[in-house]
């Protein structure tokens, strides 16, 4: 079967979507299309679990206004579905409602796994993209001399805080999302997203310190991020003050760990001390009934 003939056929849904957006005069649908057009590659990695799919982007360089690939439509449905997550949770129902707002049948939710995995992965990926953009902008400001370069610990604190703040609208249903992300068939994708996010943060933080090697840096920040996320789940303080204070302490610990490693003769001892601190923190977070 010749797959090449398929891209010529414009998706009917695109025509429907245009009609819907024309009627409502929504700037939303056109701007989201631009956003996803420029990020086709960043979405490829976590789409692997769904199986092979033809790649439409770049076919003959011709992308007329009403032409879009299945993936783009799927992204649009998932983005629309996020609005319904606070009410329905990360479920096929939220996806169905999202599809309805785009003028599609609720049966379109059948395109996705029924446990809502793709919705969560899509959201995480979107957050990571937003974080990258934020860090990129900050870096530009520094390069233009309009802002000061932050010290590493403040940079890490701000980056993790900014990323975790994106969870706030969905915080009630986020524990559910975390448990779904831990399912065996989702672990490759969720782990992939996590590590690339951590890498991005370190990339923009700039590596001045030669104390840590690359793996340790990654592991340390991943530990900080995960534990802070768990603390945030059960934090009821105003605007999550407790969480940010926890974050500050963890980042400070991590910085101290590197200093101590310089001072002390045997670095092994220092690493063990650092790990003990992390273990105590994690067990504290767990015993305070984090995961509901």
């Amino acid at each position: 079967r010749c797959q090449l003939s398929r891209p010529q056929r414009a998706l009917q849904a695109s025509a429907v979507l245009r009609r819907v957006s024309d009627e409502q005069k929504e700037p939303f649908s056109s701007s989201s299309q631009q956003q996803f057009d420029s990020h086709p590659t960043s979405h490829q990695p976590e789409q692997e679990p769904q199986g092979p799919r033809p790649s439409y982007t770049g076919q003959g360089g011709q992308e007329s206004e009403d032409y879009e690939s299945e993936e783009q439509l799927q992204h649009r449905i998932l983005t629309a579905a996020l609005e319904f997550v606070p009410e329905h949770g990360w479920t096929a129902e939220a996806i169905a409602e999202g599809a309805k707002t785009l003028g599609l049948s609720v049966a379109a939710a059948g395109m996705f796994h029924s446990d809502g995995s793709e919705l969560i992965l899509h959201f995480v990926s979107q957050c990571n993209t937003k974080l990258s953009e934020l860090l990129e902008q900050e870096q530009k400001l520094v390069q233009l001399g309009e802002a000061e370069k932050k010290p590493t610990d403040q940079f890490l604190r701000d980056a993790v805080k900014a990323r975790l703040r994106m969870l706030i609208p969905y915080i009630e249903k986020w524990p559910q999302a975390l448990s779904i992300l831990l399912l065996p068939h989702n672990i490759p994708s969720s782990l992939n997203l996590l590590t690339s996010m951590i890498d991005e943060i370190w990339h923009y933080a700039g590596d001045q310190s030669t104390d840590f090697n690359w793996y340790t840096r990654r592991a340390v920040l991943t530990g900080i991020y995960n534990t802070t996320e768990l603390v945030m789940m059960q934090d009821s303080s105003p605007d999550f003050e407790d969480t940010w204070r926890f974050l500050e302490n963890r980042v400070a610990d991590a910085m101290n760990m590197s200093d101590r490693a310089n001072q002390v003769q045997s670095t092994g001892e220092a690493v063990v001390q650092g790990l003990m601190g992390a273990a105590v923190t994690v067990s504290n977070a767990e015993t305070s009934g984090v995961v509901r």
Binding site: A13, L104, V106
Partner: protein, 261 residues
């Protein structure tokens, strides 16, 4: 084809059970789970004469709706008594949540048996019975959320026309689901299956329904039916996207799914 089903209609269900050793119920349940319909779905079940798929759909949607209502009540903890009372009133209650299924069959007898079954089992709302031909459906464009055809498409003379009609009556985003006997690739199972099909089934047909010829026809039509990949290509030709199939029992039966995007 019409005469085959005229004579077969009354004994259809019994024959299904004995031929497939009751497994056809599991196949249909799997189909329903794959569909995962949410309340408010409009289903068209073609060639669904005796209503097996329709009844399963109603059951599924009913329990989904119950769960939905429970969740809504749990959320709205701060309602006044009047609001709670209102939510329990009949108009708002909607046990099926506006879901509906239209059963369409070319054969009057099959529909009659289906209607009787519905009455007997207590299914009243959300069901419609329409006489129609899969190659030329008596419905408007863009009407249905899901189109199913369970063990019916191999009896259609022009499968491509049926697929085109399915495409036409589905809403954008709608789903096409086809449950049908297909090809077994495993050689050992294939031989056992052949022996069973050609030796046992027509005999059962004669004993239970008093009709050898119809069941001979049935078994032959299964062999003549295009295999999984070919059917997938035909569905794609009709305009469906994300076409995929799932083999059940190593290929004895396959569920094909496609979306109108």
């Amino acid at each position: 084809v019409y005469q085959v089903f005229e004579s077969v209609a009354k004994k259809y269900d019994v024959m299904n059970d004995s031929m497939t050793l009751g497994i056809h119920r599991v196949w249909k349940d799997i189909l329903m789970h794959k569909m995962n319909p949410s309340p408010g779905t409009l289903l068209l079940d073609v060639a669904g004469g005796t209503g097996d798929i329709a009844f399963r759909f109603i059951n599924y949607v009913r329990s989904a709706r119950e769960r939905q209502l429970q969740r809504k009540l749990r959320h709205s903890q701060n309602l006044s008594w009047q609001e709670i009372a209102e939510s329990y009133q009949e108009e708002n209650f909607k046990p099926l949540g506006d879901s509906q299924v239209v059963v369409c069959d070319i054969n009057k007898e099959m529909l009659k048996v289906g209607k009787q079954k519905a009455q007997h089992l207590g299914y009243s709302e959300g069901l419609s019975w329409v006489l129609g031909n899969a190659e030329e459906l008596p419905f408007d464009d863009d009407k249905f959320d899901v189109y199913t055809i369970a063990f019916g498409i191999r009896n259609v003379t022009r499968i491509d026309l049926a697929l085109q009609e399915a495409y036409r009556v589905l809403k954008p985003g709608g789903r096409f689901l086809c449950l049908e006997f297909s090809h077994v690739s495993n050689p050992l199972l294939s031989r056992l299956y052949d022996v069973y099909s050609f030796q046992v089934i027509p005999v059962l047909g004669e004993v239970i329904a008093g009709d050898w010829k119809s069941y001979q026809y049935l078994v032959e039509s299964i062999r003549r039916f295009p295999p999984q990949e070919e059917l997938k290509a035909m569905i794609e030709d009709a305009g469906f996207f994300k076409v995929d199939y799932q083999n059940l029992n190593l290929g004895i039966v396959a569920i094909h799914s496609g979306f109108k995007l």
